[in-house]
Symmetry: C2
Subunit: 348 residues, 2 copies
Amino acid sequence: MSKHTTLSLDAMGGDSAPDMVVEGVALAFEKLPQVDFLLFGDERQLAPLLDKYKQLKPVCQIRHTEDVVSNDEKAGVALRSGRHSSMRLAINAVNDGEAAGIVSAGNTGALMAMAKFVLKTLPGISRPAIAKNFPTLNGECMILDLGANVICDADNLVQFAVMGEVFARTNFGVEKPSIGILNVGREELKGHESVQQAFNILQNIDLPIHFHGFVEGDDIAKGTVDVVVTDGFTGNIALKSAEGTAKMIGAFLKEALLSTTRSKLGAILAKPALDALKNRFDPRLHNGAMFLGLNGICVKSHGGTDGLGFANALEVAVELVSGDLIGVIKEEMTDLDYGMDKESVTQD
Amino acid sequence: MSKHTTLSLDAMGGDSAPDMVVEGVALAFEKLPQVDFLLFGDERQLAPLLDKYKQLKPVCQIRHTEDVVSNDEKAGVALRSGRHSSMRLAINAVNDGEAAGIVSAGNTGALMAMAKFVLKTLPGISRPAIAKNFPTLNGECMILDLGANVICDADNLVQFAVMGEVFARTNFGVEKPSIGILNVGREELKGHESVQQAFNILQNIDLPIHFHGFVEGDDIAKGTVDVVVTDGFTGNIALKSAEGTAKMIGAFLKEALLSTTRSKLGAILAKPALDALKNRFDPRLHNGAMFLGLNGICVKSHGGTDGLGFANALEVAVELVSGDLIGVIKEEMTDLDYGMDKESVTQD
């Protein structure tokens, strides 16, 4: 990255905000020397925190507001009454051209609603999706949607496929990323209408994409494809099932290693290797979900993360900016024409 | 179990059938002394296999047929043209009262279609579900549906809840099993119409069940509830995502332990503990999915399993028989009246 970038931050979003936000900026600072930060939030809290990190002075600017969107606020309410919230003002900064992207660890529903309202969806995209990387046996894949849309029709899934493909190409550096639609079987006739229609469209689409076909749940971790496309209901549950399983195995592994004197000794010897493995699955190092399909970069950090996790979300945002994700998606969507209902792709 | 039981087996179903079927019977024999087996399949293949296990002579009977349902046969075709197949004849044996339950490692779709056609669904159940146990942090839970119905309405989910509750009560020995509906959040307003309606019905239902509410994907492995209710699309993908993740972590763990001389030494010391952990997750010991909602016990073994896995599926079938699962479900469904559309609960 050579160009200068500004990120706007919802400094009050997240369970441990604003402390972890400032900590995150401090941790990311070394890796992101070309980035400035606009911190939206309570100056009385933010100024003393920033005082702890003198090196951040030249790259941080506080934009004071006292209003905050709470975690249990409904999206519609936040949209109507949160016009002066740290979240909303941080999003506005992207729309006004002051910042190239916004990062928030606040209320997901409110962030999506506000970002859609302020930044709008890209031409040809009816609904934005939440996307995230997932570790696989041979690297990583991207899954979308992870919860923005509980019901998706075939057009939504096709748009997710195109956006995911662009992401994988620009950010994983995969030349021709493969795309799979999540289903209950690999055969063409499996699943419900939406996945079958999306399958047909993607097989005949007029874009140079590599459509693999249907994939099953275990193909995610196998790394069968680079981009896994699904509706937000299934994607959310698949991701959380996988995360829950990983935690359970971690707990059982610990229990097993502490079960006998002999195994404890073995664990001490294997500790460096096991620690490396643990780091590989550290959710903080995979923190930062993208809202794909908006006319602006918006990254959602996990609400319960710490400074290290937030720093990772900042890096994700900078990667998306420097990869010109939005420009490439716009281009692809312009080329995309498979006779889908143009009425359905207006911004809602 | 004190009563005598007969199981009918589709001896030709499964990737390694009929060898693994006979092997499975031999392995289960010690644990199931009160069980007889009817083996449906090719006598020329089965007789020499049975000759290897003299002890099985008194408990096994071969019922010859040359017809087999292949793995790639469509359910409808199998139903029409497979009337003399080992799968169909084994199911018929349950309907004729010759056997108390049937076990097959063959084509899942064909097995479900044939079992529905021959055994019929129980009164009050519109669609049977595929159910399976899953290990959790504090024991095990049961998930249903795992793929029999890609789209489910609220009535289907409510029926799954009632059937799952009966299963957990009679087979886990949990006095008052808790039930959760899988969703993208725990709040009442989350998710789509089917889960919201099912939530309302279960909250006001006239049965002494313990309805926990909505659960998320990570609640499966946490063991938050005893019974996880979901549609077959989401359930299938959630289960396979979890299985894929478990396999990936196993592979990474192995890689980590073999990465240095020191970690290799540690692995040798920890081997007994790690082997015990591996056994805990051995899919063969969790083999045997139930078709719940049929007027007969039908257990589906994984097609790729071996004798040990098939033996486990046989044990599952015997447990279901001895717990009188079908009798109890029938009773509960008779008591169940929440004003649902009676038209929709006829057998289809």
